[in-house]
């Protein structure tokens, strides 16, 4: 078993290759808030009452544990390894994001912060945050790139129904990274009464480790579920990686189990060599963004480059620093899946198993579909099905040239990377 103790007290993952990942690369204005958060998390991380409340919420509000489902028909059709799906899509609000959001909202309550801010790409983290704020009576402001607002309008409406204010961000690429910048700015300005719920394992310390800890409930459940299901641990665990929270959640408890390969699947967009992708680990270089040192997509001047993915949730030029560390020490492998491959997997899972997966998760499914036929039927792949695909049906419809829009509010809308919807005739 690998002895794994990361990060250190400063939030550094490493050292590796003479450097480290993670850290606290923020303006002085935020240092106090982060110190306060570190102290609060250190206090409650092992607090019995806090953990009891967290577990209670996961069981009764989220519906945990989520099942592991044997995708038998898909496995049979592919003719190789058995594919199992960890059903995070069955969580309340439809994705793994809610696990972390509950943990952080419980901290915010204990810190007496009445105002919550969040950033969101695909909207799943925004919806989870809006949901928990409604449940706990907290004010909720969600920053979202205006490009993503177009792509994910059902989730925007869900957030509004739940009482959140959704703030469109028009700067930069108008996607997740810009929403993160804007949320950080809000936090700098309103740090006294505001708690910032970061939705992924990125950002300054303590977020990467804290979000990982809250999400590791996914992998912990798998550790007990897989032996019941197949008599042992799987040969490989696969998960999609944008910021990387669902992947860290399922990977982390498996890190010491070296017999299980850990495979992160990044968005290769139009191809890893096309320049239009979001594959920070497979095509990026180390740098500093959003409060931590990690792999980034950047140009020769250190400017962050624009990214592309069919999936708004993966459309991010950085990645959680622990993934950067796992890559460099060789404990996890990272691969790319293109928009086209993800879309094919999306349709395949719909038809063979009756599950509509999120486009994010479809990337992980697609890679499992590639691997399975090269393996034996007595081998097992565990795929984290991080979210459900209801939010993505508009994107998929556009790409398939299917025009199911019939509401006035949707007329003329199109999605990034897709063909525009034909204007409804009156």
């Amino acid at each position: 078993m690998l002895d794994y103790q990361q990060p250190d007290a400063r939030g550094h993952f490493g050292p590796v290759n003479g450097s480290y990942f993670g850290g606290t690369f923020v303006a002085e204005t935020l240092i106090h808030a982060l110190d306060e958060l570190k102290a609060t998390y250190a206090r409650y991380q092992h607090d019995a009452e806090f953990q009891r409340e967290f577990r209670h919420e996961l069981a009764h509000f989220v519906g945990r544990p989520s099942p592991v489902y044997h995708a038998a028909r898909l496995s049979r059709e592919l003719g190789g390894a058995q594919i199992h799906l960890k059903r995070e899509d069955l969580n309340h609000t439809g994705a793994h994001k809610v696990n972390n959001t509950i943990g952080q909202a419980l901290l915010a309550k204990r810190m007496g912060k009445p105002r919550i801010i969040a950033e969101t790409g695909a909207g799943q983290h925004g919806v989870a945050t809006a949901t928990i704020c409604a449940r706990y009576g907290l004010e909720c402001v969600v920053y979202m790139g205006s490009e993503d607002i177009k792509r994910q309008s059902p989730n925007v409406y869900r957030m509004k129904l739940l009482g959140a204010t959704v703030v469109p961000v028009d700067s930069g690429s108008k996607t997740l990274k810009d929403a993160l910048n804007e949320a950080l700015r809000d936090w700098v300005t309103n740090v006294e009464n505001t708690y910032y719920i970061i939705g992924t394992v990125a950002g300054p310390a303590p977020y990467p480790a804290m979000v990982r800890d809250f999400q590791s409930v996914i992998g912990e459940e798998c550790l007990t579920q897989m032996p019941t299901q197949i008599g042992r641990q799987p040969d490989a665990v696969l998960a999609c990686v944008g910021g990387g929270s669902n992947a860290m959640g399922i990977f982390y408890p498996y890190i010491p189990h070296e017999g299980t390969r850990l495979i992160g699947v990044e968005a290769a967009g139009e191809g890893l060599d096309s320049g239009k992708h979001s594959a920070s680990l497979t095509r990026g270089t180390p740098g500093v963004l959003h409060g931590n040192r990690t792999y980034l997509l950047q140009d020769r001047n250190g400017q962050i480059t624009e990214t592309h993915s069919i999936s708004a949730g993966l459309d991010y030029p950085g990645v959680g620093p622990e993934h950067a560390y796992l890559k460099d020490i060789g404990r996890a492998e990272y691969v790319g899946i293109t928009d086209t491959e993800a879309l094919e997997a999306f349709h395949r899972l719909c038809r063979t198993e009756g599950i509509i997966p999120a486009l994010e998760s479809s990337h992980a499914v697609a890679h499992a579909m590639k691997m399975a036929p090269t393996m034996r039927p007595d081998q097992h792949l565990l795929v984290n099905l991080s979210g459900r695909g209801d939010k993505d049906i508009g994107t998929v419809a556009d790409l398939s040239n299917a025009d199911f829009y019939c509401r006035p509010s949707c007329r003329g809308q199109s999605v990034k990377g897709g063909v525009s919807v034909v204007e409804m005739k009156s």
């Binding site: 240092i31 700067s171 700015r185 040192r293």
Partner: protein, 273 residues
């Protein structure tokens, strides 16, 4: 301690005056105009120049400086170009200190060792990296010190006394008190609050203390100059140049500095009486 920065504060202290420190983004509105703008600022009465290194994701800056950064990036300005501008500026001005202000990633991408060497060679005197707090830049601080450059730090209304002491131990040149909770160019300046905090900072920090964020005109500059060693002005200057026709930017910069320098010195003189 950097020679040029120390000399400026020594001279001003002897005269009972405060340093006027403008901020402009390198390459904005046009890369060709930056050196002229810097000379214009000095002609108008600037003591130290803060030159922003454009970055795609300036998370601590407000919309005005973010847009300035975007305009510079759209014209392809990289860190090597910024160093080139400082070299050009040095041809006609060997006296005025230049401080580069920016974010960690362009510097790390350039290479911290190469940066310390090349910045010193270009005539840079100090460096302020917004997202390098003391605990993440020990190696960088040592490299800069060896190259004769000051590493300048921010302090904020949320900084604790312990924090001020940490910054005080490694700060070079001057420290820069962010006078309000917020991004550059935002909100309303609370001069009473500034007056309360600066004496606390001075207990922990030996270098001069400047105040920035929220200073837009002579009135606000005079108000904070009463308690600090320097005033920093950025967003307002950029807005004025934004509104001005090409070719007039250096003049606009000079006139704006002069409009603050006069009242600043008059107030200092009044205090000395």
């Amino acid at each position: 301690m950097n020679v040029r920065i120390a000399a400026v504060f020594e001279t001003l202290k002897a005269q009972g005056r405060q340093a006027l420190i403008p901020y402009v983004t390198a390459g904005d509105p046009s890369p060709a105009a930056t050196v002229d703008i810097l000379h214009g600022l000095v002609a108008g009465g600037a003591d130290i120049l803060e030159l922003g290194v454009p970055f795609s994701d300036p998370m601590a800056d407000g919309p005005v400086i973010q847009k300035a950064s975007e305009r510079a990036l759209a014209q392809g300005v990289g860190l090597d170009d910024v160093l080139g501008m400082v070299r050009d500026f040095r041809r006609d001005d060997a006296r005025t200190p230049v401080v580069l202000m920016g974010y960690a990633n362009p510097v790390e991408c350039y290479g911290v060792e190469a940066f310390a060497r090349d910045a010193a060679a270009a005539g840079v005197d100090g460096v302020l990296i917004v997202d390098y707090p003391p605990e993440e830049c020990e190696g960088f601080a040592a490299l800069l010190k060896a190259a004769g450059l000051d590493l300048i730090f921010l302090l904020a209304p949320t900084s604790t006394e312990a924090r001020m002491a940490t910054v005080g131990r490694i700060a070079g040149g001057y420290v820069y008190y962010v006078s309000l909770k917020g991004v550059t160019g935002a909100g309303h300046l609370d001069t009473d609050e500034v007056a309360r905090v600066i004496p606390r900072i001075r207990q922990h920090v030996q270098v001069p203390v400047g105040v920035g964020f929220g200073i837009r005109d002579a009135t606000s500059a005079v108000a904070v100059a009463g308690v600090s060693d320097a005033v920093v002005i950025g967003s307002k200057l950029i807005q004025l140049m934004e509104a001005a026709p090409a070719g007039t930017w250096a003049t606009v910069a000079r006139d704006f500095m002069a409009s603050i320098r006069g009242p600043l010195d008059a107030a200092s003189a009044a205090r000395r009486l």
